[in-house]
Amino acid sequence: MTDKRIWELLAKQFDGEITAEELQELEALLGRQSEKAPYGELLSDLHGLRIQPDLDDRLAREKSLTALRAAMRNPAANGRTDLVEAFGPDMPFENPSTDMRTRIRWAIALTAILLILPVAWYLLKTSRMTGAANETARTETLDKIVTKTGSKTLISLPDSSTVVLSSACQFSYNKDFGVRKREMHLTGEAYFEIHSNPEMPLIVHAGNVLIRVLGTTFNVRANQDDSFVEASLINGAIEVSLRSDPERKILLRPGEKIQIRQDTLLTPGHSRNPTPDMITVSKIPPTGPDSSYVQNAWQREKMLFHKESFGSLIKQMESRYEVRIALTDTSLRSWLFTGSFDKENIDEALQALQNTAPFNYSKNGGTITITRRKL
């Protein structure tokens, strides 16, 4: 009986799904039957055995590979409907984001991809036309990445630059990135660490703003809902200009941030030249004992804010806590808050805010409603 139990437990251990109690039990049982003790090691050695295919298997694989190569080059092969029948409706697709597709301009949309190993640089070929396996016409298109709410995505670019996208971002970069040019488009918030290449400056398009980067660490916020674009520079140098006014360039130094009001610039019919007070350059306030810059706080999981409007704060909290927050009284939007959220949950965070501002909140499913408190 104990013999059977030992092997049951060893099997669980082999799976990597053994509980602490079971492990103790196993060790006790093995202790009593010392001749079985080495089996644990043996089984871990077993992981190292590799399959050797026999000749028939190898031939089958060769044949298959040849057929596959031919099919990749032959557009007619893509018309096989029996394959579709064979592999679906039970097809294990997960979260096809069809609603996203209607919003984006380019055919290829990607959800969060996490590239842990350094990805060897490869040419980004476009395959926007369906059914054409060997599309060779290269159009000047960008491959786009869209992140889901509540996630952070690390993108490793072909030139070894890295970008961390916050939730609900839309991000894309040009094909042949790092070969002839480096260009990106961003809606949302992202943190950049850009590989230095003076001969090929990186251009980031965020709303109406162009950021030219040489080799640097910076943060950009260009939310569709926010009324401004904000770029904060940590290290290096960036030059900011406007799509509508490219002659006017503003150079940022480390520790500075620039804010540009966006709605005036993009609304059709309005003057496209912003007045001077639409653009502000200020110092990034160093905060806290670790003096982590406010703008990059979200990237390190802490949320810091400095004289942030309630309206803007709510949007950040929506993304951080994955809830909907509704403000019944729009005058509350202009309240300013300074503080930080670290390990607080949504309730604790709201309660902390309540210490300084008179409001009530109520939860209903996934929505929080905020109302002004009568004093």
Partner: protein, 189 residues
């Protein structure tokens, strides 16, 4: 192949229609899919075609592949579905086609040792191969899926539509038999 690498290859395939990525996937996964299809159908020709079709399917559906979170499981499920489809074509009157544990077919498996091993010599590997070869088809298939495809017992249960207890029981049989076939030198214990 680690799960990460398969994931990256899927991304390359999806993002860039990268033919090399598909070739690498084929290189690493063909045998696994082939063996699975073989054990379900019992027909070599069918198994080859099914395994091949999985890759063709990946190519055809490459643009959607970015949504797949578990590429290995995805490919194995595709092969499984393809095999079940083939069975359905063979038995058109059957109302439900599922994997019958007792219908699983035999296939051969040969292992070779690798440098990381301390206790298992190449001599012992021969013993091990014999033992594995003599396992019942269901047991052998489960062992293959766990060992080669790096699936968790839970995933194997999902793939074969059996209970996780069955998987655990079969694995304990397989592991016991394999271990007992290996004469252990207990000098350092």
């Amino acid at each position: 192949m680690t799960n990460e690498t398969a994931y990256i290859l899927f991304t390359r395939l999806s993002q860039a229609a990268d033919e090399e990525a598909l070739t690498l996937l084929h290189d690493r996964f063909f045998y696994r899919l082939y063996k699975l299809a073989l054990s379900i159908t019992g027909d070599r020709g069918a198994a080859e075609e099914i395994a091949n079709d999985v890759f063709l399917h990946l190519w055809q559906r490459r643009e959607q592949l970015y949504t797949v979170r578990h590429p290995d499981l995805y490919m194995l499920k595709s092969a499984r579905n393809g095999a079940l489809c083939w069975l359905r074509a063979q038995r058109p009157k059957a109302s439900r086609i599922e994997i019958h544990e007792d219908d699983l077919h035999d296939f051969s498996l040969q292992y070779a040792s690798s440098p990381e091993q301390i206790l298992i010599s190449s001599e012992m590997v021969r013993h091990i191969n014999q033992v594995i070869d003599q396992l019942a088809p269901k047991c052998k298939l489960i062992f293959l899926l766990v060992k080669e495809s790096n699936l968790k017992y839970k995933e194997v249960a999902q793939l074969l539509d059996i209970s996780i207890k069955t998987v655990e029981a079969q694995m304990s049989i397989a592991l016991k038999r394999i271990s007992l076939s290996v004469p252990l030198v207990l000098a350092h214990h």
